[in-house]
Symmetry: C2
Subunit: 358 residues, 2 copies
């Protein structure tokens, strides 16, 4: 099978950094297109390893393991953005990494990300860099309260965040950052949150899935519903805005773009340079899902068009939610996706269910 | 997670005999429900091995390998019916095999299968056992020509078959059997062929997917289209007939039931005690596909309802058809499924595409 010279041929191997549920679902999508996968993951017994052709268990500091991994694959992608820079340098010297380093650099740091989005002319929450109590006092002065202090790096699912109800919370919030560089973000009044799962191919083509409405609980995504309640104009705005971000980064792969819907327009909350929890509905709503879309981009294939054939409500199964699976298994139109994790700890994403409507 | 005592818990391991594309897609479905899989396959580098937790490469005569395999799994299923009896005896002493031995015994032998179906009161093509030229002469006398002489065992995709246009073809057809016990089957006048993918759970519940219309080319399935052109009465007949077969066998798992549509009613062509090529459309037409349905049954889970949310045309990609994949990848609504096979030999099933209609 050949077509354009960029198309990775079936039988080739895609290397995936990270062995969690996103890597697991990427691995299955890659197999569906005839590729093999090789997972690189420091933790033992990664969920992605159950459905991969090869697994390397090693820390990101193990240069020999990184080199052997790179030598065994044709292209490298990742399921999370917080990969140590040194490891990326080692890998990139030998194999292409998609999405590219710029996308990682932007999304690894909340301050860089917000500045990048502002420079593109997109709306974001008001923000200011906070390295110490002087910065924080100035930031509170400028942005006001309530506000949220967040570490610039390594935050996810509400971790590394501290809420300031009033200026008096400043000291406690700063203490929560444990000395890490931070960013103060102002509150945004929004009616609801939506996200766009957008993809850009190696040829610059962009395709977006229908925006979904996200509802969070305890800082973790609880449900995504498609279609989201948006006007036609908002829908167009969301897609154009996502395309602008991907084009600016010369991005190759799938990105999750979280948006607040406000009377002033769509405000970008966060971007994630990878497949995204709020795109899991595509597995049962589209012929080509976000995981395959990402693999297509990374492999230099043409993108799928992302057309939705069914309405879907995605519900995350967190911690003990997984005990409800026997009941869910009896529901009509419920597609269960479990991640193969051994222990159902509180707050741990154990799986999700896509409820298909007609 | 617990419910009924029969339900295999996520984290358990399902053993799969056979590492081809059916085993591959079963393995992915098992992972989706949180199970691990262990593939047993004599051939090197099996397609299912790319997405399995463990692979044993050993012949079915290797008793030690069979015992180690059985010890490592919680339940055993299979992707094809021609597993040597001795191997099944060894395995069954240690772990349950689902679907059961009776289903295998019936479907491994065309004569036993036809007799079983007749005894159930179902219509089949006229048939007679043929061990030698005297039998064949008598069978031709009874059934007439045109007719097809088939080996009783180990036939698939048109292999081990010889057509008799007239009684004079008898000697040549018998020579084609190379001494193997055979069966002469009369021709059936039919308007089209459909198949029902039926499932029976461990609790005796039966669920069927919508019948699909099958079109063959050179003796190999080319396309399956759902919905199939059937009257409401024919649709009901098809489902009741399939349920009768599964109940008679106390079957647990998915079975493919091929039917000829004739003015006299539905005639059973063949049954396959496994997931079936004509059920691949379910991957993109239903929330629970045939592979997951099979795994649910084998794992003692409740069945999915098999409801179809979209119309689908499934096309097999055989041999060089796989060269068309770059073009198919650009089609809207086309879901590609490749099997990870290295060489595209003529007649070899390399993958399939499900075209989803709205």
């Amino acid at each position: 099978m050949t077509d354009t010279p960029t198309m990775l041929q079936p039988g080739a191997t895609i290397g995936i950094l990270g062995g969690g549920q996103l890597g697991r679902m990427l691995s299955v999508a890659a197999a569906r297109l005839g590729f093999r996968t090789h997972i690189f993951e420091p933790g033992a017994n990664p969920p992605a390893g159950h459905v991969a052709d090869a697994v390397t268990t090693a820390p990101y500091e193990d240069e020999a393991a990184l080199l052997a991994f790179a030598a065994s694959v044709d292209v490298i992608t990742y399921e999370f953005e917080n990969i140590p820079t040194q490891a990326l340098d080692t890998l990139e010297a030998h194999r292409p990494i998609r999405p590219n380093r710029q996308a990682l650099a932007v999304s690894q740091d909340r301050l860089v990300e917000k500045a990048f989005l502002s420079d593109l002319g997109l709306l974001t929450a008001p923000f200011a860099a906070v390295d110490d109590e002087v910065d924080l006092a100035e930031a509170i002065e400028e942005i006001g309260t309530p506000a949220i202090l967040k570490t610039r790096r390594f935050g996810y699912d509400g971790k590394g965040q501290s809420r300031l109800r009033a200026p008096e919370d400043a000291a406690a919030a700063l203490a929560d950052m444990a000395g890490a560089p931070a960013i103060l973000e102002g509150f945004v009044e929004f009616s609801h949150e939506v996200s766009v799962i957008a993809a850009r191919g190696i040829d610059g083509e962009v395709a977006c899935f229908d925006p979904g409405e996200n509802v969070h609980k305890d800082g973790i995504l609880a449900t995504t519903t498609v279609p989201a309640p948006l006007s036609a104009a908002q829908r167009t705005d969301a897609v154009l805005l996502a395309a602008k971000i991907l084009n600016a980064l010369k991005y190759v792969g799938v990105m999750g773009v979280e948006l607040f819907v406000t009377p002033k327009g769509l405000i970008v909350n966060e971007i994630a340079p990878r497949v995204h929890n709020s795109g899991h509905w595509t597995q049962n709503g589209c012929a080509v899902d976000q995981f395959e879309q990402h693999i297509r981009a990374v492999a230099g294939w043409p993108l799928g068009d992302g057309k939705r054939h069914s309405d879907v409500v995605m519900e995350n199964l967190i911690g003990d939610d997984v005990l409800r699976v026997p009941g869910i298994a009896r529901e009509s139109g419920a597609a269960i996706h479990l991640y193969g994790k051994a222990e159902a700890k509180p707050g741990r994403k154990m799986g999700h269910v896509n409820r298909v409507k007609g």
